[in-house]
């Protein structure tokens, strides 16, 4: 167990470090924007007020409320302190609404959509890839080009096509939103049914997209392993085929686990844009509205949450990997 502690300790330090740097980037980059965010709110709230003194007072008030009058470094530490407590301040575009208010629901929708979709897509992709490598012949000939093509369609593209076919043309799925527009979120049967109906298209479009890439990766890993020396050696020894296949797929699976951790960021990014197509009430849609209304408190909170989610997911995968890869275990006991 001591060896594991070292491994996990290293991973935790790495996790905290990346989080901190991601946090700095999150704070600095949006603030480089040339446009004045306060002027943006003023254009909405101060419409029709012609008195310069009043507008000046309003402007100063907003600057004070958002803490923009303090030096950048002080703003940073205030932000850090508040963010650690889970408080992301006030929204610019929907002032005086709190950022937490806006994104807290979105987080649940996004998690509920993307986590199952990516896991299901990863599983199906791996199974298909392994089958393609093992069966070869017709299945492989058909599956390979198809997966390659699927992995080239961007996630939002699949979303648009699914929407065009199932919602617009066939009319068997709702076109937008996370639940019926005439419903108020509650725990009634109608609401849950509506959520499930709205869930199908976004879910399957993300799944289908993830299948392609994973299948290709798993197939080439499996082919590589099937040609490895230990497989030939086992064959010469007369080990049963099913047993060899078990070894092969276990070995081919390991890089796929790391691969998932590495491609998670890309997958989440694609899925966020797919959310926009369905006007799904998740973080992707929040991101879009934050961009269009140049609301950087919401924008940086959203990107920070997404980064945090991806970091936690990769961290979890790293931990799982530590348990399932015998090489990690061996290395720790040296």
């Amino acid at each position: 167990m001591k060896g594991y502690r070292k491994y996990f300790g290293k991973k935790i330090v790495w996790f905290l470090l990346t989080l901190f740097i991601a946090f700095i980037l999150n704070f600095v980059l949006p603030r480089m924007m040339p446009a004045d965010p306060v002027a943006n709110i003023m254009s909405k709230t101060a419409r029709g007020i012609s008195d310069t003194a009043t507008t000046k007072a309003m402007y100063d008030n907003y600057v004070k409320v958002f803490g923009l009058d303090k030096p950048e470094i002080e703003q940073f530490f205030t932000y850090l302190k508040n963010a650690a407590r889970g408080d992301f301040g006030l929204s610019f575009s929907q002032y005086p609404r709190k950022v937490n208010d806006i994104i807290s629901n979105a987080i649940l929708w996004t998690l509920g959509l993307q986590l199952p979709a990516i896991i299901v897509g990863w599983l199906i992709g791996n199974i298909l890839g392994a089958l393609a490598a093992y069966i070869k012949k017709g299945f492989d000939k058909l599956l390979m080009p198809l997966s390659l093509f699927l992995s080239c369609v961007p996630a939002f593209g699949m979303a648009v096509i699914m929407l065009g076919i199932f919602a617009t043309k066939l009319n068997i799925a709702p076109t937008a939103g996370g639940y019926g527009y005439d419903l108020i979120p509650n725990f009634s049967w109608t609401f849950i049914k509506s959520v499930i109906a709205h869930y199908q298209l976004p879910f399957w479009s993300i799944v289908i997209i993830s299948i392609g890439g994973q299948a290709i990766g798993m197939r080439s890993m499996s082919i590589y392993e099937l040609n490895a020396d230990y497989v030939k050696y086992s064959r010469y020894l007369g080990v049963k085929d099913s047993k060899i296949v078990g070894y092969v797929f276990r070995n081919a699976m390991l890089p796929q686990v790391t691969g998932l951790a590495l491609s998670l960021g890309t997958m989440v990014g694609g899925a966020l844009v797919a959310e926009i197509i369905f006007s799904y009430p998740g973080l992707g849609t929040t991101l879009l509205s934050a961009v269009t209304s140049s609301d950087y408190p919401v924008l940086s909170a959203t990107t920070l949450i997404i980064t945090l989610m991806v970091l936690i997911a990769s961290f979890t995968i790293d931990i799982i990997y530590g348990f399932i890869d015998p090489r990690v275990k061996a290395a720790q006991f040296d």
Binding site: L25, L29, P30, D140, L148, A167, I223, G269
Partner: protein
């Protein structure tokens, strides 16, 4: 070198991918030669016109008609006149006056009309029917009668002085004109977009810009990845540690998020296509660094490199002569993949409203963005978004296919 290229072109996957890519590229350059003009010119004043050939009705009146009698012309005209709503209304009337539902088939225009002709009586007042509804049926009936006993249509011009209408031309139902005789006509193979622009012309120009963005971003990413990978792998020590640290950092922090933040920070006004390409290039080099680094590490202690070192060759010379040729295939593969990811990245950014400035040139992502903003997808205007997606997928597919082909040539273990 010559041998390698020959070997590469023996890989069927590479050849297929390469041909698709070259074909796409060729058509992008040839199409504007045949259909010149500004791709952003707004031809249509209404948005989302369907694909097809549009001839000027005004000019068509002046053209000399030929007399033709097409079979089924009347039936088609009638079927066209009767929309779903009218059919349903006719059924409603027939039901009201006591015709059994089984006898009414709204999909069969002929039998429906026959039944209607027999049973409809304008003087009848079914119970519970409002005046407005009865008038609606009267109008419907007149329309149908007109369509049945095709009468002539008179085109009149207004006399400038008296304001009276004067007969200019009589059009009968057997008049046909050749579309070539109409002076003003336009063929829109993919209709128009929300601004009334020719979608195909725009698409060709957009695809060209997107490929350019891909090339710029891909070259930048490959260049950064190659140089950092070479430095980290060959020099090692703290340089390696530092580069590896930064690389790992940006592999874990989603590149897409950094891209969003940087693009947002730059601001809408400063984002041209080239700026976008540069930003994408600067945020997507980590993969190349990783793979180049691991390749170089395995090469670093080979005999020929050591020999070069002992002969006192400079660092630059060793890298150029003894290391680069061995990793060239990886670099080319990385470049190809970078180009395809960059094209996708641009599209995704534009979908978020963080793409290039919208006024100057179209890109594939911007076209998607516009189509979505004007909800082409929920209205079924497939021509505004489907061809764009197809081009994105086709370019990306061909590049990936080339990459897989190269991979199989240079990694014999992957061959089937």
């Amino acid at each position: 070198m010559k041998n390698t290229i020959r070997q590469v072109f023996h890989s069927p996957k590479f050849v297929v991918g390469f041909s698709i890519f070259v074909l796409v590229l060729l058509s992008l350059f040839i199409y504007p030669l045949f259909v010149p003009g500004n791709p952003l010119q707004m031809v249509g004043l209404s948005s989302f016109s369907e694909p097809g050939t549009y001839v000027s009705v005004y000019d068509a009146i002046d053209s000399e008609p030929d007399i033709m009698k097409l079979p089924e012309a009347d039936a088609k005209r009638l079927a066209d006149k009767l929309n779903e709503e009218d059919r349903a209304a006719m059924k409603e009337w027939l039901l009201l006056i006591g015709i059994p539902e089984a006898d009414i088939d709204t999909t069969d225009t002929k039998s429906l009309l026959k039944l209607w002709e027999e049973k409809y009586d304008p003087s009848l007042k079914p119970a519970g029917m409002t005046m407005a509804k009865r008038n609606y049926y009267k109008r419907l009936n007149t329309n149908l009668e007109q369509a049945l006993n095709a009468s002539e249509v008179v085109i009149a011009t207004e006399n400038a002085e008296t304001g009276a209408l004067e007969e200019a031309k009589v059009v009968t139902d057997t008049d046909y004109i050749n579309t070539k005789d109409v002076i003003n006509s336009i063929t829109l193979p993919l209709g128009t977009d929300n601004f009334g622009r020719d979608t195909l012309k725009e698409l060709v120009s957009a695809a060209k810009t997107s490929i350019m963005i891909g090339l710029i971003a891909g070259s930048i990413a490959t260049f950064i990845g190659l140089s950092t990978g070479l430095l980290a792998g060959y020099i090692g020590g703290w340089v390696d540690e530092l580069i590896l640290f930064i690389t790992n950092l940006f592999t874990v922090i989603p590149g897409f998020i950094i891209l969003i933040l940087v693009s947002y920070g730059i601001g809408q006004e400063n984002r041209g296509a080239t700026t976008c390409a540069i930003v994408i290039g600067f945020t997507s080099w980590t993969w190349t660094t990783r793979s180049v680094r691991s390749q170089v590490i395995s090469l670093r202690n080979r005999d020929h490199v050591n020999l070069s070192k002992l002969s006192g060759h400079s660092l630059l010379r060793i890298i150029l002569n003894d290391i680069l040729p061995y990793i060239a295939s990886y670099v080319v593969m990385a470049l190809i993949l970078q180009i395809s990811t960059a094209i996708l990245a641009e599209a995704q950014l534009s979908m978020l409203g963080l793409g290039p400035k919208t006024t100057e040139i179209p890109t594939l992502g911007l076209m998607m963005n516009w189509a979505m903003l004007y909800s082409a997808h929920t209205h079924g205007y497939w021509w505004a978004y489907f061809p764009v997606l197809l081009i994105i997928a086709l370019i990306s597919f061909s590049l990936n296919l080339m990459n897989t082909g190269l991979d199989q040539v240079f990694n014999p273990t992957l061959r089937d």
